[in-house]
Symmetry: C3
Subunit: 357 residues, 3 copies
C-alpha cells in the first residue's frame, strides 16, 4: 500500500451513527482498512479490517457479544483487537491481534483517533451541539467521492460557487455576466484563531430563488449571511441565515460538512443538515431535506470536484490562479501548511494547486 | 500526464459538425483535454478544457455569446482562451487564460491544429470535396476505439481483410482455403507522392455477396476497384467501385476514414460515407448506411483492432510478419518513419510491430 | 507483460472437456494467452493466441479441419503452430508460426504442458480415475477467481473453514464459541510422500446439518472423514465420507479442486464433483450438485479468497499466524518452497504470508 501521510493525533469522522448498527461496517480511513462494529453494550469499536490468521476481512463476519467473529475460520476479537477465541485450539498466541483505534460516538457521528493511541484526547472533537438541540431537526449524509478530500473541502470554503454551480437550486437571482458594480454587494471577513479559520460572508439585498426561496417562504430582498468555521483535519462548520430588510432572521441552518480521506485521491464526505424552521405544511421535512441535498451535492458538487481531480491528474504542470473570493480557502491552506510542517510531513499529498495566502 | 509525441503542425480531425452544436464538447486530442464550442457567430473554438482558476473543465459550462462560461464560479473565456469576466471582481490577471488551438470547419468535420499556432496553414486540410457534391449523399460517423490510432488506420490500408473479417457482410464470395491460382486474380499498385501514399487494388471477376450485392443490385461477376490515398497524420481516403463485365461503373462510394489519437492507446475514428447511387426504393438511404456501417465497424473491425492492441501489450517481444498484401501499409509506415524523424520525435509510440517497407 | 515465474515441466489444467467444442477457447495460462481448439479429428491443440502476421488473436477465428483460421486475414495454422495457408500468396515464410503447447485430454479435463516441450511426460497427469467409474456421476466446474492460485488452493487444504464460512450449508452443527473440550473431537494426520502431501482429518461424533444432512439422508451423529492429497502445481484431490456409528460408509464424494494460475493475481478454479450415492427420488442429481456447489463456492469461498487477496495488497507488511488446523497447508507450502528452489525460481510470486512448516 502506498504510504500516504495524513495529519495525526486528531479525530477523523468515520461514519454517522446509523451506519453502524447490526452488521460490521468496512471503511477505509487515511488509507487504513478499518472495521467498525457496535458491540452488544452499544459501544463502537474500530479495528484493522483483517484477521491476523489469514488476513480475511473481519468486516465479513458477525458481532458476538462484545467481540467480532471472523467468518473464515471463526476466530473472535475484542474491542482492543485481541483474539479471544480460536476454534479447536485453547492456546492463543499473544501475537494473534490487530491494531485498534479509539472510537467515540458524538453529535451523531463516529470519530476515530488517527495517530498515537496513547494521546487520545476526547476534548478535541468538534462542537456540533446544535445537532442535539431538541428544537431542531437533523438529517445525516454520507457520500463517497473520487477526489482528494481537500478539493471537496475547498468547495465548501468558497460559497461564491453557489450562484453558478447551483444556479437551478440554491442560488440567488443573478445576472451571470454582471460587472461588480451591478451585482449585489458582497462583504467578506476571515480570521485565523489558533488552528481554526473563521469566515463571515454577506450578500446584501439579494433576491432568493429556487429552493432557498421555498425555505424562506416570502418574497423581497434579503441579506444572505454565511458564517463559516474550519477546523483541522477538514471540518467545514457552516451556518446559513437570511436576514430580512427589517433585520429579522427566521431561518438558521447549520450545515456541517466533514471530509475524511479514504485514500490519496478518494474521500468520505459526511454532513449533517440541522434546521430550526418549517412551514405550516411541514416543509421542509426530513424527506425534503434528504432529496434536496442529495440532488444538489450528487448532481452539482461531486461531479464538479471529481472532474477537477481528473483535470489535476491530466494537467500536471498548472497552478491555480486565486481570486478575491478565495480568501477563506487560502487562509485554510496556510494553516494546513503550518500543521503539516509541525508534524514533519514532507510527503504531503499536494491536493490542490491553490497557493496558501 | 505521460508525454506522448504526435506529429505536429498538422490538422487533426476533432469532431464532425453535428457533434458541436448547443453544448460544449469535451474531447481529448493527442493527449490534450480540449473543449470545442460553437459560438453565437457559428465559429467553432478549441481551448484547453480547464478553467485556470481551479482547473474545472470548461466543457461542463455553457456558451454565452462568443464566450464559454465555467460552471463552477462563472468565469468567461473567449475563443483565444483569454478570461473576459470574473464575477465580483473587475480586475482580470493576464495569467488568467488557457491555450487555444486553431479550429476550422470543413467538409463536415472540425479540424484542430496541433503544434505551433503561429504556423497554422489552412491549405493543408485534406480535400474531401465530394462530401459537398449536391448529387451525393453523406453520412458521418464517430467511434471511440481502445487501440492506438495506427492499428486502426492499418485496418483500412489493407482491404484484403474484407473477405475474412467481413465474410458475412461486404466480402466477395470466396473459398477461404483457395490457393492463389484458384482465387480471383488480384492486382495491386502503390505509389508514394511526397507525404501521400496512393494505392490501387483490383479484384478481378469476383462475385459480390451480402451487402455489396445489395448495393450493386444485379448478379454476375464484377471487378472490385479499391482506390486509396493516405495522408498524414492518418487519413485513409478510400473509394470503392464495382466495374461490370462491359466496363461500366454504376456505383462510386467515397469512404474517408480519419484517425485521431486520443491517447497513446486510444483513438477517435471519424468517417464519412458518401454515395452517388440508390435503387428506386431509395435503398440505401441514410438509415441503411448508418445501420450497415455501424454493424460492420462496431462488430467486426473495432473488436478485432482492440484485440490486436491487447495482444501487443501481452506479447511484448514479437514482430509482425508482413505479406504481399501489406504493401500499402508498409509504404505508409515508411513515410511515417520519415516524418517522425524529420520532427525529431524519438519517443515515438511504437504503435505496430509491422516493419516499414 | 510482467514476467512471472511458475513451476515448469508440469501439467496445468486448462479447461474441462465440454469447454472446448465447436468454437476455439481463449484462455490465459501462467500469463500466456493460449487458444485451445478441438480439431475435426477430436484432438485438442493449444497454441499461442496470436497470428504472427498482425497479432490478431486466433481464438476469434474458426476451426477448419485440423487447422484454425485467423479471422482477420484468413491465415491457417495447424496443431504444431505452423502456418499452412496464406490467402493470395503461395509462399509461406518459415517464421510464420507460433508456439504450441502439448495438450492432453484426460479425466474430463484438458491438460497443458508448461515448460520444455521436449520433456513432455504424459504419465505425470494426476490420477482422477474415479471420474471414469461408470457407477458414479460427475459434474464439472470452472470458475475465474481474482486471487492468486495459492490462496484459492489453501482454502481447500484447510477444511476447518467449513464450519464457519459454510455455516448455512455444509457445516456440521456447532457452537461457534465452544472451547476445544466441548466441541466434537478432531484428529488430523498429514504425511509428505515425494512431491505429494497427504492428509486425513476426522471429526468424530458430529451432527450433520444443511446440505450434508440432506445427502446423508438420516439423523444421528457421524464421523466426517476428509481425505486429502495435494499434488503440484496445485491439485487438491479430496474425498469426503460420513461414517455411521456402526462403521458403515454409504456416501463417498470425490472433490477434485485444481487451481491453475491465469496471472499473478488471478486464477482458474476447476473442479469435478464425483458421487456414488443418491436417494430414491434421485437426489442429488446433476442439477442439484451444480446448484449446491455453485452456491457454496460462488457465495462463500470465492468472495472470501478475493477479499484476502485485496487485503494482502492493502496490508503489505503483515505475516499470517498459523494455527494447529493449518498443518496440511504448511506442509504443502514447504514442498512448494523446495520445488521452486529446485527450479531456481527466485522471483517466485509470494502468494501467501503463511510460513512453511
Amino acid at each position: 500500500m502506498k504510504k500516504m501521510q495524513f495529519l495525526e493525533n486528531i479525530w477523523y469522522c468515520a461514519a454517522y451513527t446509523a451506519e453502524v448498527a447490526d452488521k460490521p461496517l468496512a471503511r477505509m480511513i487515511c488509507g487504513m482498512p478499518m472495521v467498525l462494529y457496535r458491540a452488544e453494550s452499544d459501544e463502537v469499536a474500530a479495528l484493522e479490517d483483517r484477521c491476523p490468521h489469514r488476513q480475511a476481512p473481519l468486516s465479513m463476519g458477525n458481532v458476538i457479544g462484545e467481540t467480532i467473529q471472523c467468518d473464515y475460520h471463526g476466530f473472535l476479537f475484542d474491542k482492543t483487537g485481541a483474539c479471544t477465541h480460536i476454534p479447536r485450539q485453547d492456546r492463543i498466541p499473544a501475537a494473534n491481534r490487530v491494531d485498534a483505534f479509539a472510537a467515540v460516538e458524538r453529535w451523531g457521528f463516529i470519530w476515530v483517533w488517527w495517530g498515537d493511541q496513547s494521546k487520545v484526547d476526547g476534548t478535541t472533537i468538534p462542537d456540533l451541539s446544535w445537532t442535539a438541540d431538541e428544537n431542531r431537526r437533523v438529517q445525516y449524509f454520507h457520500w463517497h467521492v473520487n477526489a482528494n478530500f481537500q478539493l471537496m473541502a475547498d468547495n465548501l470554503l468558497d460559497v461564491s460557487h453557489v450562484d453558478f454551480l447551483h444556479k437551478h437550486s440554491i442560488a440567488s437571482k443573478i445576472d451571470p455576466t454582471a460587472k461588480q458594480a451591478e451585482a449585489p454587494k458582497v462583504t467578506m471577513e476571515t480570521k485565523v484563531k489558533g488552528d481554526a479559520v473563521h469566515s463571515l460572508r454577506l450578500v446584501h439585498n439579494t433576491m432568493l430563488a429556487g429552493i432557498t426561496a421555498a425555505w424562506h417562504g416570502s418574497e423581497g430582498p434579503v441579506t444572505r449571511v454565511s458564517t463559516g468555521k474550519w477546523l483541522p483535519p477538514n471540518s467545514c462548520i457552516l451556518k446559513l441565515q437570511f436576514e430580512d430588510e427589517n433585520g429579522d432572521i427566521n431561518e438558521t441552518i447549520n450545515l456541517d460538512h466533514i471530509m475524511t480521506p479514504e485514500t490519496e485521491n478518494t474521500c468520505h464526505y459526511f454532513m449533517d443538515w440541522t434546521w430550526d424552521f418549517g412551514g405550516p405544511d411541514g416543509y421542509p421535512d426530513h424527506d425534503d431535506v434528504d432529496r434536496e441535498q442529495r440532488s444538489l451535492i450528487e448532481c452539482d458538487d461531486i461531479p464538479m470536484v471529481e472532474a477537477q481531480q481528473r483535470n489535476l491528474e491530466l494537467f500536471d504542470n498548472v497552478q491555480d490562479i486565486p481570486v478575491k473570493q478565495d480568501k477563506f480557502v487560502n487562509r485554510v491552506h496556510k494553516v494546513l501548511q503550518r500543521l503539516y510542517a509541525e508534524q514533519g510531513i514532507t510527503e504531503r499529498v499536494e491536493v490542490t494547486r491553490m497557493a496558501a495566502e
